[in-house]
């Protein structure tokens, strides 16, 4: 039972598109656990491997020849800010899976690996069917280093730490492997609508 804080006022009608416990921001805060990795597009590579039929690695030029699409959507950070109505451009994970000749029957999880060593884990079903992509542009601009340049995973229906910056490798696995924040106190799945922020949030 929540206590009522006398004099604390609701700011008015709640925007239905904002998940519970989130505040809307106009700026775009930066959260990274260490120094910002600076990855030149000339050295950038993306590997898709693990439980796929034909693992592959592509460079920046080849990646950019793949069909792009856009998602107009909101993002939600576990530190309680949401940024609404951004346009994101990238290559869908479905497209990358197709290029790998499909998933094997054991591809239950996606483990995203990044430059700098960051990892995060997601159920495969959360990254297929147009729900996720590898993005290179937000609101028409190339991503800046602080926001994950040259490319980040983009899974906007989960808290934004799942949208791993500086993406380098997508490994599909049979078993789950909790990632960087998932072993540092945060929730394994991270649904903003259920407020799955920390590991003991149920």
């Amino acid at each position: 039972m929540a206590i009522i804080n006398p004099g604390f006022k609701s700011p008015g009608r709640r925007d239905e598109r904002v998940p519970p416990g989130q505040s809307v921001v106009k700026t775009w805060p930066v959260l990274t656990y260490g120094p910002t990795p600076r990855i030149d597009t000339g050295e950038w590579m993306l590997a898709v491997d693990g439980e796929v039929n034909k693992p592959f690695t592509i460079d920046w030029a080849e990646f950019n020849r793949l069909p792009k699409h856009t998602m107009l959507t909101d993002i939600h950070c576990v530190t309680r800010w949401s940024k609404l109505g951004m346009e994101w451009e990238g290559v869908s994970i479905d497209e990358l899976i197709e290029r790998a000749d499909g998933l094997t029957s054991s591809a239950n999880h996606l483990i995203a690996h990044c430059y700098g060593g960051y990892t995060t884990n997601l159920p495969t079903e959360d990254v297929i069917g147009g729900k996720a992509m590898i993005t290179t542009r937000a609101d028409g601009e190339l991503l800046t280093p602080e926001h994950g340049a040259p490319a980040r995973l983009f899974v906007p229906h989960l808290y934004f730490w799942k949208s791993a910056k500086y993406i380098n490798r997508l490994t599909f696995t049979e078993r789950d492997h909790p990632g960087f924040w998932e072993v540092n106190g945060y929730h394994n799945y991270g649904d903003p609508w259920r407020e799955e922020r920390y590991e003991t949030d149920v």
Binding site: I3, S10, V25, V30, L31, G34, P35, R80, Y198, T200
Partner: protein
């Protein structure tokens, strides 16, 4: 920290804290001390969340770093809170919360930007503005643990009046503690012989030179400060894996 294990509540359970003390630290910065009916234990660097609830059920919550260590032997928690211009939580706390007020709080949260007393690495803390808060907790915990590892705090702040924890950082007038290096970015106090201006390569080089082995670096402050400082450490040859960072706010 065996006591952490003995807790019967989860860190994500909301508990009620009663305000026992309010300490003005600097303009727009106050420390709030809370008393709980259960023990408080965390690693220095961890956060807590404060949640406010309006009569109509509307809720807002914000994260704050613990300002002091707590090893489970007491039920006290200190959070240092900065008043944010559009901050619905901080502005409520600054204008409505008094001694005896009750607030819902949960934690400790976050397991990465922390220092554990069993740590063997020397430590270098680098902060700007209110980014001092978790670093202060680490420094105090390091003192309480009688740790023999070297610790230095490099702190960038506008002016002396804007510096929180003045009497800890400057135990003698005009002179920082022996493990503290301060640089004033807007105005130094009269007679100041130390650094002025933003943290730069020279300051970082000279502080690193005082270490025999590469320290574990903790950087906390605004995003622009953390971006610049972490980059300078990498350029100075510190492996990025030895640099933990905590940013607040946007790029510019």
């Amino acid at each position: 920290m065996k006591s952490v294990m003995k807790q019967t509540f989860k860190p994500t359970d909301w508990r009620v804290g009663t305000v026992t003390q309010i300490v003005p630290e600097a303009p727009g910065i106050r420390s709030y001390c809370f008393s709980f009916d259960s023990q408080i234990a965390h690693y220095a660097g961890q956060h807590y969340e404060i949640r406010l609830t309006a009569e109509d059920g509307y809720q807002a919550a914000r994260l704050y770093s613990a300002a002091m260590p707590a090893n489970g032997t007491s039920n006290m928690l200190q959070l240092t809170i900065a008043l944010m211009a559009d901050g619905e939580v901080s502005s409520y706390i600054f204008s409505n919360v008094t001694i005896g007020s009750q607030l819902e709080i949960r934690g400790p949260l976050g397991g990465y930007f922390v220092w554990k007393p069993e740590g063997k690495s020397p430590i270098l803390l680098v902060g700007g503005g209110t980014g001092i808060v978790p670093l202060r907790a680490i420094r105090l915990q390091h003192q309480q643990a009688n740790a023999s590892t070297k610790l230095t705090l490099l702190y960038s702040v506008k002016t002396y009046p804007y510096m929180p924890y003045k009497y800890e950082l400057f135990p003698r007038i005009g002179q920082p503690a022996s493990d503290v290096i301060v640089t004033f970015t807007e105005q130094a106090p009269q007679g100041w012989l130390g650094h002025e201006g933003r943290i730069d390569n020279a300051m970082i080089q000279s502080v690193l030179q005082a270490y025999k082995t590469t320290p574990q670096v903790y950087v906390c402050g605004s995003t622009p400060l953390v971006e610049v400082v972490t980059r300078q450490f990498v350029e100075a040859g510190v492996n990025p894996s030895k640099i933990k960072a905590e940013r607040f706010g946007a790029t510019s």
